[in-house]
Amino acid sequence: MIIPRVPAQHRRLLPDRRLSGPTPWVIAILMLLTLLSAAAGIGLARSANAIGDAIAGRVTVQIVTANPVTRAEQAIALRRTAAAQPFVRTARAVEQAELRATLDQWFGSAEGDDPVLNSLPLPALVDIDFVGEDRAGHMTQLRALVAREAPGARIIPHAEWLGPVARLIRSLAWVAGALVILMTLASAAVVIMTARAALGTHYTTIEMLHMIGATDQQITRLFQRRIAIDTAYGIALGSVVAALILLLIGWQWSGVTSGLAETASLGPAGWALLLALPLLAIALAALTARQTLLAALQKIL
């Protein structure tokens, strides 16, 4: 049992000084940081997975033929031919307006009336998504197709330029995971120190209880209950603050609709894990306290 049942008369053996020490507050801070790190880790991992899935089988064919009419014709032909291939899931010609809208952000003209931008010879782009996992084979077939329909066009695999971003995000997710582990270990260390301090503070009472025939289990239950309740208060407080912060971030995040931000979310499994973490933390605290107390009591005859 996480918080052992102890008769009310036995509970009085320890003076009632709940929340008076630093333990609940330290645990609250550690729980807050653990939950925020876990949320960040889950969000980043989901983002990295989403990006990885999106870029793994996608290429963009860049047609740079000087004549704009020929360029447009090649793009249409390539899109149509590629879409008919069994190794292609989808083929989409990127609209020139879409390209200009993207470049507008860099030229600083939201109206699309920048004379320099309008004078630029924009390439024709065709986005192609492959079917299945045989990337190398698909690329060979696509090169042959491109050489036939749009000679001189460049094939750009998305994994080449978005891959490092995905790897960076995945690395950050691992760092967040490592932080969760470190803070869990720090929480366990706090519980161990609390248990040892409690034994030191109440050594006379413990010695007395031993002398009148109390078992290690009876004494351990007494302290385990107190430490579990104290840490549960800290965990509850840290969880509530973390929930408020996550809800605030979620509310602000919902207003961000562009680029990578769209891929970062916790998802149902992520929220379930975050909800489970405080319960796991209470169980870990109680178990750590129990083992620490039993080990310490073993040293007393």
Partner: protein, 230 residues
């Protein structure tokens, strides 16, 4: 009931504080343990109430070898021993009543079943009206009586008291001794460590163990030739 044979005790690498201790305590007897300060009385008592294992020798209690006894079996034996500490060791945040009830609660006695014995014990030590007082508000004598009541509430087979009259006036000392004598008449073996030679003469048939420099002497011869109590 208690058998020590060739027992020695040392703390760490230092010389033995107790050497070649051998005696046999008979059930229902009354013993005084005397000796100068530093002779090893408290160390001997610690072995009697199972707070310390000997460094060598044989200790048998209630027919069982305690030297090799696994630790988890000790609580069961300790519940058969009452201990009165020199410094009382009352739990300060528990009332006099709760301190007295502690051994019964540890033994799993229900609140209904322990109410009667605890009430009787409070009457016996004359502290009915101070049942809910906390130890820091009690006088030295009152604390001592509570400590004695706690030691005997579970009707131990062996009662061990370390200087139980050291903190009280002579009148109170005699009253406390009367409590031990009454308990002894009920069949409990009593071992009292004391400096007070006058106290010893007040108990008829009491036997004396004297410790000097960690060795036991036997002035009455009773330990080697225990009286036939049949």
């Amino acid at each position: 009931m208690v058998e020590f044979n060739g027992v020695g005790l040392r703390y760490g690498p230092d010389a033995e504080v107790l050497s070649d201790i051998s005696f046999n305590l008979q059930p229902g007897s009354f013993y005084f343990l005397t000796g100068p300060s530093g002779a090893g009385k408290t160390s001997l008592l610690k072995m009697l109430y199972l707070a310390q294992r000997p460094s060598r020798g044989i200790v048998r209690l209630f027919g069982e070898d305690l030297v090799s006894m696994p630790r988890h079996r000790l609580p069961g034996f300790r519940r058969r021993i009452g201990v009165v500490f020199q410094d009382f060791r009352l739990i300060p945040h528990l009332s006099a009543r709760d301190n007295i009830a502690l051994p019964l609660r540890i033994a799993g006695v229900s609140e209904e079943d322990l109410a009667g014995p605890v009430g009787e014990m409070l009457s016996w030590i004359g502290l009915d009206e101070r049942a809910h007082a906390f130890p820091p508000t009690l006088s030295g004598g009152e604390q001592q009586r509570v400590a004695i009541a706690r030691a005997v509430i579970a009707r131990p087979q062996l009662l061990v008291a370390d200087e139980p009259t050291g903190n009280v006036d002579p009148d109170m000392a005699m009253r406390l001794l009367g409590l031990f004598e009454a308990l002894n008449r009920l069949g409990t073996t009593v071992v009292v460590a004391t400096h007070d030679i006058h106290l010893i003469s007040r108990i008829e048939n009491a036997q004396m163990m004297r410790l000097e420099k960690g060795r036991l002497s036997d002035p009455t011869g009773a330990l080697r030739y225990p009286p036939n109590r049949s």
